[in-house]
């Protein structure tokens, strides 16, 4: 993930910014659905659409559950969608651990609601074509994920 | 971190009335008040005072509390005696045509912080 503005298929344009409210489980998922609808308008094919939707959803849930709220930027180039998901939360202390399937720091309340199975980051790894996580304790987390058609 | 009094003179479009020698001082915090008893109660050195008053009390308070300087707002021009006092006490004295609201707002937007931030323990 070298050049932040250019993907392989041409320059990325910022088309929309969304806000995620921390701890708001009622609204959780609404940003990823809005992203999906937008990409459909632009003509993204169904398989790529589903990969974007899953990536966006998992990233959004992480921001709601752990990040205390944040923003999502959607950038587009022909053939690629880029999601930049930023929060100002506590940061991820051990990224390797967080990437392990089943590892979760979810609270009991979150598990009651059905979340916190520890599949969020692994799911993103499976569905995004490329991704990068920038994080440090006390400095928030920024996830950049590219989904190629 | 912080601004020098030189920079503050520029941002507030202020006139330097007394003790220009002190303009190298670096300011990180400020207090905006017209009640000197209040200033004394919450004072801390390394702080700039912004006030609408332009009398002797202000200079005495600044000296006692060890404040870095005084900015008088709303183009209030202190009496000559006050300016001389400030020079003697080595208190930089500035006058700006801005009101208290804009002066505080401008400095806040440039990173200067309020007094109680110093007093409170840092959040975990």
């Amino acid at each position: 993930m070298t050049d932040p503005k250019h993907s392989q298929q041409g320059p990325l344009q910022l088309v929309q910014t969304f806000t995620i409210k921390g701890d708001d489980f009622a609204a959780a998922g609404s940003v990823s659905l809005a992203v999906k609808r937008l990409l459909k308008e632009v003509g993204f094919p169904p398989d790529a659409l589903r990969r974007v939707a899953i990536t966006a959803f998992e990233a959004e849930m992480n921001v709601v559950m752990y990040g205390g709220g944040g923003e999502v930027e959607l950038l587009l180039a022909p053939g690629t969608a880029r999601l930049v998901v930023r929060d100002h939360g506590p940061g991820i202390p051990d990224l390797d651990l967080a990437m392990q399937e089943g590892w979760s720091t979810a609270t009991a309340a979150m598990r009651e609601m059905g979340f916190g199975a520890g599949m969020g980051l692994p799911n993103i790894r499976r569905n995004a074509t490329r991704f990068n996580i920038d994080t440090a304790p006390g400095q928030g987390t920024t996830l950049t994920a590219d989904i190629d058609i | 971190m912080g601004l020098t009094l030189h920079q503050i003179v520029e941002f507030l479009e202020a006139e330097v009335l007394a003790y220009p020698e002190g303009l190298d001082r670096v300011v990180t915090h400020a207090q905006g008040s017209d009640l000197m008893s209040d200033v004394l109660a919450f004072s801390h050195p390394n702080c700039l005072l912004i006030t609408g008053l332009a009398n002797h009390q202000v200079i005495r308070t600044a000296e006692v509390a060890g404040l870095l300087g005084v900015v008088v707002v709303r183009s209030k021009r202190p009496a000559e005696a006050v300016i001389i006092l400030a020079q003697e006490c080595e208190v930089p004295l500035l006058s700006t045509r801005l009101g208290m609201f804009d002066a505080c707002g401008t400095l806040f937007s440039r990173g200067i912080r309020g007094m109680s931030d110093l007093a409170r323990p840092r959040p975990r």
Binding site: F57, P78 | G105
Partner: protein, 558 residues
């Protein structure tokens, strides 16, 4: 013998199977060009121009919402009438189970079926019987296709169209069991006609239906000479004839033999109940609810579901647009009838197994996707158009007033960018985006919004929270405030006594914020309550509070 669901028939290429939606149209004589239908249309298919509403046939999904809301009777329904049926030498009525809910608690399904015969039909078919059979066929399909999670019911024609147009990736999830009405019609035309000794062209098969869209037969290929269903007669067109007949009906026959299983298909949840499958089933009714579920399914979630019954009409078919009875009463009536007949299915399972194996329930043709075209074929151009739409939206008021003839500003922007509408249709459009300096001139907030933004506490004067804030003023010297503060400003101070209230009221200030975690004196509070002047408190000191207020750019400060 080939497996029933994977037969050669399914490999047939589909043709343009779903005709453009054409069951609702605007009557130009009656339409006055108001915006009610345009606003109500859930797929934004309607535009109003030159005093006339127009439905875009490529977007319309036949849901009938426009028909429901039009107060001028200007939405015409395309459906057959009783006389059309009776013109045939032989006519058969297929009675939708919702019909039994329309005549109150004292009329039985058997009576309704008999009444249909009396008003002129040669024979009548109880559709709920076929529905019972279809439940088994659907379960069988799901059982032999465990990878389909979930299967989506094909019986609501609007849902089918929604999926083909907007969620084509979900087409493989649609359970390819013939909707019961089509199975009944097909059986009548292909087998029973001969049995009765009737020529096929002499036989008219009509569905008595709560909705005209049920005419849509996605399995009828365009090149087929004659469709299975000759027409759909909606409830209002037979109601009075049936009502009169029921009053003097002699119940000398028993033709109704179904159980509650099939009857329940008339309401939302009935199918999901009746389909016996291992795993979770879900029933969704209502347009936005169905859209919501389809969105979520398309996003790859809810894979633990095995079957979804989706209907765009609230409460299911008995809540359809062309019903007569109030849908709550209809629900209650149907529930009672179901109870009376029990939920033990009465169909002959062995015969049913035979039919399934013969492929009697299978679709003959696959449904082709008819996706709504993207903003442009070329992705780079599509992105450009998206940006153009965003930019145009910044020059629009976003008040969704409808004056431009589009349902909302975002749709209008899309119409303009795609060349469907001139931009001057909007009387409020700005020539260009407001320059940054103009934005820096600030925004108008109410005291209430300020309280929220700065996390203030309201100590008194709640009634004044709606006041507009114009600027700020920081001072602890009352004489100074009297001399220089401007009306509408928010006053930041550490003075807590009642004179502050007097000055604030005199100067018509928006509110007073007491800084530094201080508390107002009681006199001040009661005076402020009397005057409706908001007194607010903040933990922040005056400098910080002023800084934050300043940063909000609440209009000019001096």
């Amino acid at each position: 013998m080939p497996a029933p669901w994977d037969g050669a028939a399914m490999a047939n290429p589909g043709s343009e199977l779903i005709q453009p939606a054409r069951h609702y149209s605007i009557d130009p004589e009656a339409c006055i060009g108001c915006v009610l239908c345009m606003k109500a249309c859930p797929v934004k298919a309607i535009r109003v121009s030159r005093g006339l509403a127009q439905i875009r046939p490529d977007i319309c999904v036949d849901c009938g919402m426009c028909y429901r809301v039009c107060p001028h009777d200007a939405v015409r329904v395309a459906s057959a009438k009783l006389e059309d049926a009776l013109r045939f030498p032989h006519s058969v009525a297929i009675a939708h189970p919702a019909l039994f809910s329309q005549f109150g608690y004292d009329v039985t399904p058997n009576q309704v079926l008999l009444a249909l015969k009396r008003i002129g039909f040669s024979d009548v078919i109880d559709l709920s019987w076929v529905c019972e059979m279809s439940s088994v066929a659907i379960a069988d399909y799901l059982h032999s296709h465990p990878e389909i999670t979930p299967g989506i019911s094909a019986s609501c024609p609007v849902v089918l169209r929604l999926i083909a147009q907007r969620f084509p990736s979900l087409l493989p999830n649609v359970v390819p069991v013939l909707p019961s009405r089509l199975l009944a019609a097909k059986t009548l035309k292909t087998r029973l006609a001969g049995r009765y000794g009737w020529r096929q062209d002499e036989l008219g098969v009509f569905l008595i239906s709560p909705c005209p869209a049920k005419m849509i037969a996605p399995q009828d290929p365009v090149n087929m000479a004659k469709p299975y269903l000759d027409g759909v007669i909606c409830f209002p067109d037979v109601y009075s004839a049936l009502f009169r007949e029921l009053r003097t009906l002699e119940e000398d026959q028993t033709i109704f033999k179904s159980s509650g299983c099939g009857l329940a298909w008339g309401a939302s949840g009935g199918q999901a109940e009746a389909v016996e499958v291992a795993g979770y089933t879900l029933a969704v009714a209502g347009f936005s609810e169905v859209l919501g579920i389809l969105e979520v399914l398309e996003a790859g979630r809810l894979t633990e579901l095995r079957f979804v019954e989706a209907r765009v009409c609230l409460d299911g078919s008995l809540g359809g647009p062309l019903t007569v009875e109030n849908r709550y009463r209809a629900k209650s009536v149907l529930a009672r009838v179901i109870k009376q007949h029990g939920t033990q299915s009465r169909v002959d399972r062995a015969r049913l197994r035979n039919m399934i194996d013969q492929g009697a329930f299978a679709w003959e043709y696959k449904i082709q996707p008819m996706p709504t075209p993207p903003l442009a074929e070329e992705p780079a151009e599509a992105i450009n158009r998206l940006q153009a739409i965003n930019e145009l939206c910044e020059r629009l008021p976003m008040s969704e007033c409808g004056v431009c003839g589009a349902p909302d500003c975002a749709t209008f922007a899309e119409d303009v960018v795609l060349g469907r509408s001139p931009s001057d249709r909007c009387p409020f459009i700005k020539a260009s985006k407001e320059p940054k300096d103009a934005q820096a001139k600030g925004r108008v907030m109410t005291v209430r919004e300020l309280v929220k933004e700065l996390k203030l506490k309201v100590a008194a004067g709640k009634t004044g929270l709606g006041r507009e804030v114009r600027g700020g003023y920081t001072s602890d010297l009352l004489s100074d405030v009297m001399a220089h503060a401007e009306a509408g400003a928010v006053w930041v101070t550490i003075q807590a006594h009642q004179n502050v209230v007097a000055v604030a009221v005199l100067k018509d200030l928006a509110a007073v914020i007491l800084a530094g975690g201080r508390k107002f004196e009681d006199d001040a509070l009661s005076k402020a309550n009397q005057e409706g002047l908001p007194l607010l408190t903040s933990e922040d000191n005056a400098f910080t509070l002023t800084g934050k207020l300043y940063g909000l750019r609440v209009l000019p400060s001096k």
